[in-house]
C-alpha cells in the first residue's frame, strides 16, 4: 500500500525532476541541448512550426519563465497587478519572449557555437557561449539560479545586453504612462511575423 502511494507521488514529480539540473551538470546538459537544437535547426524537412515546437520542448524545462516575467515587470508593477492580470501577463510574456528567441533562430546559418565552463558568481551560475558570425565573435551569456526544481535560467545576455533589463525598461515606460491594463493591451497584440 505504502509502495503504491510513493509510486503515485513519484509519478507526479517526474515531469519536474526531468528538468532538474545539478550545478555540475549545467555544462554537459547545456552542451547536449545546444547540439540537439542545432540538429533540429539543420533538419530542413521540418516546417517552421514543427521546428519551433521541437525546440520549445527541448529548451522549455531549463527556463524559469515565471521569474523572468516577474523580474521584467518589476516589483512595484507586479504588486500593483491583480492575480488575474498577473496570470495573463505571465502567459503573454512567456509567448513573447519565446517568439523573440525563435525569430532569432530564423537567422541561423550553420554557425559554430562554443560553450565555456560554467562560472559561479555569488549564488548564481553563468554560462558563456560564443558564436562566430559574420567574421565576428558574439557572446551570449546564460544566467542560472538555484530554484526548487534545480538550476534554471532566469536571464540571457546577448552582447552584454540583458533581455530582462531591456523588457524592464520598456515595461517601466508603459507603466509610468498608463496602467498594467495598457501594457496587457500592447502585449495581447499578435507579434508580426518575422
Amino acid at each position: 500500500m505504502k509502495k503504491l502511494f510513493y509510486l503515485a507521488l513519484i509519478s507526479l514529480l517526474l515531469p519536474l525532476s526531468a528538468a532538474a539540473m545539478e550545478a555540475n551538470e549545467i555544462g554537459s546538459v547545456m552542451r547536449q541541448k545546444v547540439d540537439v537544437v542545432l540538429t533540429i535547426l539543420n533538419d530542413h524537412n521540418l516546417s517552421k512550426t514543427e521546428r519551433n515546437t521541437a525546440i520549445e520542448t527541448e529548451m522549455d524545462p531549463y527556463f524559469d519563465f515565471l521569474l523572468m516575467a516577474k523580474l521584467s515587470l518589476g516589483k512595484s508593477g507586479w504588486q500593483a497587478a491583480t492575480p488575474a492580470q498577473r496570470k495573463e501577463y505571465v502567459v503573454l510574456f512567456e509567448r513573447r519572449i519565446k517568439d523573440f528567441y525563435m525569430s532569432k533562430l530564423d537567422l541561423y546559418k550553420d554557425e559554430v557555437i562554443t560553450l565555456e565552463a560554467p562560472q559561479e558568481v555569488k549564488n548564481r551560475i553563468y554560462l558563456n557561449s560564443y558564436i562566430i558570425e559574420k567574421g565576428e565573435k558574439k557572446e551570449v551569456l546564460y544566467k542560472f539560479y538555484h530554484a526548487k526544481e534545480g538550476w534554471l535560467i532566469y536571464d540571457v545576455d546577448v552582447l552584454g545586453v540583458s533581455i530582462i533589463q531591456s523588457y524592464r525598461s520598456q515595461f517601466a515606460g508603459e507603466l509610468e504612462n498608463g496602467s498594467i491594463e495598457q501594457l496587457l493591451i500592447k502585449l495581447r497584440q499578435p507579434q508580426p511575423d518575422a
Binding site: F65, L67, K87, E88, F100, E136, G173
Partner: protein
C-alpha cells in the same frame, strides 16, 4: 484502500492545479502552458515579490529614471532614422547586398576593422592594457599579410582574439559617465561621452594626417568622414535583418535602443 483513494484525489487535484484552473480563458491555455508553475496557482500569483537578491541585479527604472533631457528630440530622431531607413537606406542596402554577397561584405568589414588598428592601439595603451596592445599589433601584422590586407581575419582563426578599444571606452575606463543619450542622424543611438570619443578617434587616426596627395584616401576631412560612414554602412548592411526584427518586436523602440546601447557599451568598457 482509503489511502489509495486519497492519494488519487491528491494526485488529480495537484495535476489540475498545475494545468491552470478554470480562471483562464481557453485561448490563453493554448498559447502558454505555464509549464513551470509548481504548487497551487493561488500561491504563485498571489505572492508579493519574494525573490531575494534578484531586484538588486537589475536597474529599477521606476526608482531611478534614466537621465534623458533630450528625450523628445531623441524620439523624433529615432523616428526620422526609421523613415530614412525605410525610404532611403533599405533600397540602397538591398541593391548593395545584391551586388556584394555576404562573404565579400564580411571581408570589407574586416578590412575596415584592420585599418582601425592605430586607434585601437593608442586606446589600449592609454588604458595601460599592454598585453592587449601587443595582441592587437600581432593581429594587425598577421591580418595585413596572411589575411590579404585585412580581408580575412586569419589572426582570429589561429586564436589571436581582437581587443578593440575606442576613445569612448578609454574615457569610460577613467570614470567618465555616459552623459545624456543622443541619437544621431544615420548613426543611431550614442551618448555625450561616445560622441566625444568618436571625434577623438577620428583625429587620432594617422590616416587623417597623411600629406595630401592625389591618390590618398581620404584626401580631406570630408572624405575621412565619408570613410567612417562607409564603414558603418557596410557593417549595417550585414545586420539589416536583425535591426528590422528588433524594430518590429520592440514594445517601444526608442527606450529599447537606448538601453541596449548603454548596456553594450558598459560591457565593452568593463572588459
Amino acid at each position: 484502500m482509503k489511502r489509495l483513494f486519497l492519494t488519487m484525489i491528491l494526485g488529480f487535484s495537484l495535476l489540475y492545479s498545475q494545468e491552470g484552473g478554470s480562471a483562464v480563458p481557453a485561448p490563453l491555455e493554448q498559447i502558454g502552458p505555464l509549464a513551470h508553475l509548481s504548487g497551487p496557482e493561488d500561491e504563485v500569483f498571489d505572492d508579493g515579490f519574494d525573490i531575494g537578491g534578484f531586484e538588486e541585479e537589475f536597474t529599477d527604472v521606476a526608482a531611478e529614471p534614466v537621465y534623458d533631457p533630450l528625450e523628445g528630440y531623441n524620439r523624433w530622431m529615432t523616428g526620422f532614422n526609421n523613415v530614412l531607413f525605410d525610404y532611403l537606406l533599405d533600397p540602397v542596402i538591398s541593391t548593395y547586398n545584391f551586388i556584394l554577397p555576404e562573404p565579400i561584405r564580411v571581408s570589407v568589414n574586416n578590412i575596415f576593422n584592420n585599418l582601425y588598428y592605430p586607434v585601437s592601439l593608442v586606446n589600449n595603451l592609454l588604458q595601460l592594457k599592454f598585453d592587449h596592445a601587443l595582441s592587437e599589433t600581432g593581429r594587425f601584422i598577421i591580418n595585413s599579410t596572411f589575411g590579404f590586407a585585412g580581408m580575412f581575419d586569419t589572426a582570429m582563426q589561429i586564436g589571436v582574439e581582437p581587443h578593440v578599444e575606442d576613445f569612448g571606452q578609454t574615457l569610460g575606463h577613467y570614470g567618465v559617465g555616459n552623459g545624456m543619450p543622443i541619437v544621431l542622424p544615420f548613426f543611431g543611438p550614442s551618448n555625450l561621452r561616445d560622441i566625444t570619443g568618436d571625434l577623438l578617434d577620428f583625429y587620432v587616426n594617422p590616416v587623417y594626417y597623411v600629406e595630401p596627395r592625389k591618390y590618398n584616401i581620404p584626401r580631406n576631412t570630408y572624405e575621412g568622414w565619408g570613410l567612417v560612414g562607409a564603414k558603418r554602412f557596410n557593417k549595417f548592411s550585414l545586420y539589416k535583418q536583425e535591426y528590422l526584427q528588433i524594430r518590429r518586436e520592440a514594445l517601444d523602440f526608442y527606450p529599447f535602443m537606448r538601453d541596449a546601447y548603454e548596456q553594450n557599451r558598459n560591457k565593452l568598457i568593463s572588459e
